[in-house]
C-alpha cells in the first residue's frame, strides 16, 4: 500500500477542447486599475470597460494606456536555475522570471512619453493575435501582470535595417505566479475592435495674456518640434469652447471661481476665458487660479477624440 500526499497539492491533468494558449503578442496595455467581476461577464462588457478606461485622464487610478501594435518580438526571459548532483541527477530548482522585448513604430515625441514609464512597476494586459486579452486575477478582479518596462529608441538609422521610427520596449515580469500559475484570459469577438481602445495626446492649456478678468488661453501639443508646439485651435477650438470649463482657487483649488464665458479668438487662435469680474476683483493679487478643462471622455463625446486637455495655473 502506497501512502501519498500528492492528492493534497496537485490537480488532474485532463484538458478542455479549445482551451486558450497565448498567441503572438499584438499589443500591450498598461493598466494599474482593475476590471471588476461585473465588467468581465461578457467579452462585450470587458471590451467596453477597457475602452472607457482608455478615455480617462492620465491621473485617474483606473486609467489604461495602450501601446501601438507590436512589429517584432523576442523572448528575453531569465533561464531557469538548475542544479545537479555529481552522480548525474539534474533538476530545475527555480523558474526564471519571464520577459520579452518588442518593437513598435513611434516618433520622437512618443518615445519621450514612453520613457516616463521607464523602470516604473506597472501592471500590463497582453492582447494576442487571436484577439484574446491576458492578465491575472486578484480575488474576483481582473488585473494586469506586474511588470517593469524600459523603452529605447531615438538612435540614428544606419540604413542596414528597419530602424527609423522604431521604439523597443523591454518587459520584465515581476511574478511567475501571476504570469504562469494565475494567468486568465478574456476572448473577444469580431464585434470588439481593439482599435476602439485608443491612446490620448496631452494638449496643454497655456497662458498667453490677460486683461483684468479676461484671459487668453492656448491649447498646444508640446511635441519635439524645436520651432514650437502644435496649436490644435483650427481642428478643435470651436468644439472645445462649447464644452464646460471650471476654475478654482485656494487650498487644492477647492474654492470655485465663476466663469462667465468661453469664446474662440480666431486672430490669436486661442480661447478667451472670462471670469466673473466681482469674484475676480475680490481675489488678492497673485492668487493662483486653476483652469480645469473638460475631461477626455467629454471631449470624446464632442468628437474631439484622442485628446486630454491638461489644466493650467493662471495668476491674477
Amino acid at each position: 500500500m502506497a501512502y501519498s500526499l500528492c492528492g493534497t497539492s496537485v490537480d488532474n491533468l485532463g484538458q478542455q477542447e479549445c482551451d486558450k494558449a497565448k498567441g503572438v503578442l499584438n499589443r500591450i496595455a498598461i493598466d494599474n486599475g482593475v476590471v471588476g467581476e461585473a465588467d468581465y461577464a461578457t467579452p462585450a462588457l470587458f471590451h467596453a470597460e477597457l475602452t472607457e478606461k482608455s478615455k480617462l485622464s492620465k491621473s485617474a487610478t483606473e486609467k489604461l494606456f495602450i501601446l501601438p501594435e507590436v512589429q517584432e518580438i523576442s523572448d528575453a526571459s531569465e533561464a531557469n536555475k538548475e542544479g545537479s548532483l555529481n552522480l548525474g541527477f539534474k533538476a530545475t530548482l527555480m523558474e526564471g522570471k519571464p520577459g520579452y522585448k518588442f518593437k513598435f513604430f513611434g516618433g520622437a515625441d512618443l518615445l519621450k512619453r514612453c520613457k516616463t514609464f521607464d523602470n516604473q512597476t506597472v501592471r500590463i494586459r497582453e492582447y494576442d493575435a487571436n484577439g484574446v486579452w491576458w492578465g491575472t486575477k486578484v480575488g474576483t478582479d481582473s488585473k494586469g501582470y506586474q511588470a517593469k518596462l524600459f523603452f529605447t529608441g531615438g538612435k540614428v538609422a544606419t540604413g542596414q535595417n528597419v530602424e527609423e521610427g522604431v521604439i523597443e520596449c523591454t518587459v520584465s515580469i515581476l511574478s511567475t505566479t501571476e504570469y504562469f500559475t494565475n494567468s486568465y484570459w478574456v476572448e473577444t469577438t469580431s464585434a470588439e475592435n481593439v482599435g476602439d481602445i485608443t491612446p490620448l495626446l496631452d494638449v496643454q492649456l497655456t497662458y498667453i495674456s490677460k486683461a483684468s478678468n479676461v484671459y487668453k488661453v492656448g491649447m498646444y501639443i508640446n511635441g519635439s518640434n524645436q520651432t514650437g508646439p502644435y496649436n490644435i485651435f483650427d481642428e478643435a477650438g470651436s468644439a472645445i469652447a462649447a464644452l464646460t470649463f471650471t476654475a478654482g482657487t485656494g487650498t487644492n483649488y477647492g474654492t470655485s471661481l465663476a466663469i462667465t464665458s468661453v469664446a474662440v479668438d480666431n486672430s490669436l487662435k486661442c480661447l478667451t476665458v472670462t471670469f466673473d469680474s466681482t469674484a475676480f476683483t475680490a481675489l488678492a493679487g497673485g492668487t493662483a487660479i486653476k483652469l480645469i478643462p473638460p475631461t477626455p471622455a467629454t471631449l470624446d463625446a464632442a468628437d474631439v477624440t484622442e485628446t486630454e486637455l491638461l489644466y493650467v495655473i493662471l495668476t491674477k
Binding site: 479676461v214 462649447a242 462667465t260 469664446a263 466673473d276
Partner: protein, 61 residues
Amino acid sequence: MKVINGVTFYPAAYEGKTEAEFIEHESHNLSKDELKKAFAILSPKKKDIPMKKVPVDTGEA
C-alpha cells in the same frame, strides 16, 4: 450654458444680472447689439399675462 455667436455663456454671465451689466461684462466678446440679442435669449423677459374679467355675482336679482 448656451452657445451664441460662437461664445459659450455660463449662468454666471446672466443669472441675476441686468442687461446693462451683462453687456458691460461681455463687451470684449461681441458687439452691443449681439449682446442685447444674446441676453434676450439667455434671460428672456417674463411676459405680463392680462387679467381676465370675471363677472362677480352680487346676489342681486
